[in-house]
């Protein structure tokens, strides 16, 4: 049984249709990340699941119940927000217990739940403090605690780490992952940070303009992107795109880049195609320096720019007048103008229809 299921959902603000006909099935205990550029409707989708936004059409089911018209508090969800949204004048203790008190939970039960959450999130020493006296990371832990004490099946996170600095973000990311491991709840997590998405998710839903482009494991999303948008959105530095024409000749399929032709016989086609304009996507780390292996495409070029990034180094060169990024070891010595030979494995590349952007 699916834990959260969104069926044929449509949401609009006034005349603007933000989401149209969206389906999403989340399994029990699954960690789903909604990933996409700003304004693509991630928060809107999350808020509809929470019941904070009225929907135009469709249904929302949580834990086997149709909750489309149920109040947020009765949906069995807890939610964590980007701005923490702690009750400003209340202590941590009051922040955690206020909702339970309003719901008429017995006092002893409240105390037990607050104590448990405080222990899990290392908030025990902070219970008497007010939000103003906490650091960003502590505040967000309180906010997570407030969702925790509700004893719910589903947790919703809306960019919970965006307001934190890089170091704290990494720490809290690991904590959230541990929390998921220990509690085993269903979690739906919105972010536009792909590292968060790749590290946390069981499955990632990549969204664009209110449409889920691909819903798959982080590995699939990264290595077998369903379309050119997903390919370009995930991965940093971004994937190299070589635009040409797919030619299915007698000698096997090739991509004609004008001056260069790439042999595609090693590429695993996802579907039948004809001669069409196509885009070949190659990740920078899949391009290797040195002599070619069989089945690889090899080329020579000059180093144009070098970008050291600590562990790695990005070297810019060209294939048939298209700039390409090559990821090499951070400890290499390259200088502008150096001659280099490089090659990549076509089995690891992605080919897209240039018009529709779909994977070929």
């Amino acid at each position: 049984m699916a834990s959260v299921s969104v069926r044929r959902l449509a949401v609009s603000f006034g005349h603007v249709k933000v989401i149209e006909n969206l389906d999403l099935e989340v399994e029990e205990g699954e960690f789903i990340v909604l990933l996409g550029p700003s304004g693509c409707g991630k928060s809107t989708l999350l808020n509809t699941i929470a019941g904070l936004i009225d929907i135009e059409a469709g249904q929302v089911w949580i834990s086997g119940k149709n909750v489309t018209w149920t109040e947020p508090k009765d949906r069995g969800i807890g939610m964590v927000f980007q701005s923490y949204a702690l009750y400003p004048r209340m202590t941590v203790q009051q922040n955690l217990s206020f909702g339970l008190r309003m719901a008429g939970v017995p006092r002893a039960e409240i105390e037990a739940r607050v104590a448990k959450a405080a222990k899990l999130l290392q908030l025990e020493d902070l219970l008497r403090r007010r939000p103003a006296e906490l650091s960003g990371g502590q505040r967000q832990r309180v906010a997570i605690g407030r969702a925790l004490v509700r004893n719910v099946d589903v947790f919703l996170f809306d960019e919970p780490l965006s307001n934190l600095d890089a170091k704290l973000r990494n720490e809290l990311r690991v904590e959230i992952k541990k929390l998921h491991r220990d509690l085993g709840n269903t979690m739906i997590y919105v972010t536009h940070d792909q590292i968060e998405a790749l590290t946390l998710a069981d499955r990632i839903a990549v969204m664009r303009n209110g449409v889920i482009q691909q819903l798959a494991t982080p590995q699939d999303v990264y290595h077998r992107p369903k379309n050119q948008f997903v390919a370009g959105f995930i991965g940093s530095p971004t994937m190299n795109f070589l635009t040409g024409r797919l030619i299915l000749g007698a000698a096997g399929p090739t991509l004609d880049l004008g001056s260069v032709s790439i042999d595609l016989s090693a590429y695993g086609f996802a579907r039948q195609s004809s001669d069409v304009p196509a885009v070949l996507g190659v990740r920078p780390e899949h391009i290797d320096l040195g002599a070619a292996s069989p089945g690889h495409f090899a080329a020579n070029g000059k180093v144009e720019i070098v970008e050291p990034m600590g562990a790695d180094m990005i070297v810019w060169s060209r294939i048939a007048d298209t700039p390409v990024r090559i990821r090499v070891d951070g400890d290499s010595a390259f200088r502008n103008g150096d001659d280099i030979a490089f090659h990549f494995d076509l089995a690891r590349a992605s080919l897209f229809d240039a018009q529709s952007g779909e994977r070929l």
Partner: protein, 296 residues
Amino acid sequence: MQPRFRNWHVQLALLPAWLIVVFAYLGTMVFTVRMSFTSSKGIPIMDDVGLRQYDRLFHTDRWTISVENILIFGLLFILGCLVLGFLLAVFVDRLARFENTLRTIFLYPLAMSFVVTGLVWQWILNPALGLQANVRNWGWTSFTFDWLEQGDRAIYLVAFAGIWQSCGLVMAIMLAGLRGVDQELWKAARIDGIPTWRIYLHIIIPALAPMFITATLLLATAVVRSYDIVVAMTAGGPGISSEVPAKFVIDFLFTRQNIGLATAAATVMLITVLVVLMPWLYLQYFRSAPGARRAA
């Protein structure tokens, strides 16, 4: 070089301001207090009669009634403005679509001076001209509303007119505060299942505490200064039943030619204000330490 001297040209530019503070504010204050120890009548004289003027002051019915009235007026006015202003702000906030129109309507009275407010309400509440006369004309001949002419009721009407005039200001302050409340706070409270009125009571109002303090201070200064609205509405009457301290001072200073008594009354007002303000200033001053920590 010490920082105090490094920016001497800034201090120089501020010199006129300092002169005004020293001579116009402090100077007149000292002069007023000094005058209250003299037997000055129409013109200031520099004798010394000790606390005799104060003794007389507190044996003057008109003064004790004034003090009583200002307490009633102040309490009703401040509470009324805060409650009504906040409710109006909530109302406008919830009807965001009409905000501009509504804000103009509610702020409009503020554009009038207290004198105009006083006159308008004096007409409306005047039994012979306003509400009572009109309702009787419509046929309800036994209708009576003549509080303005009842000695023990008039001050309540003055407070009512004051609230009508000033609650728009409080609304504007509160509305700004409500607009500053994080939308995600509302969402979080809805997920916790907290009833709307409790969200306002337990979350929003505490968060707006600085707005309430600001509004209260603004209103409190209006209370201390209240003079024109009384003059316009009741002229202190019927009899002396709606007199207020500021009016007492002005009347004795300019019409009754009793500078000694007037300055004694002014001094009592000054001391009262200081006594009320001190704890607040003290709090402000000592709060700055945790406040700074919060900002960091």
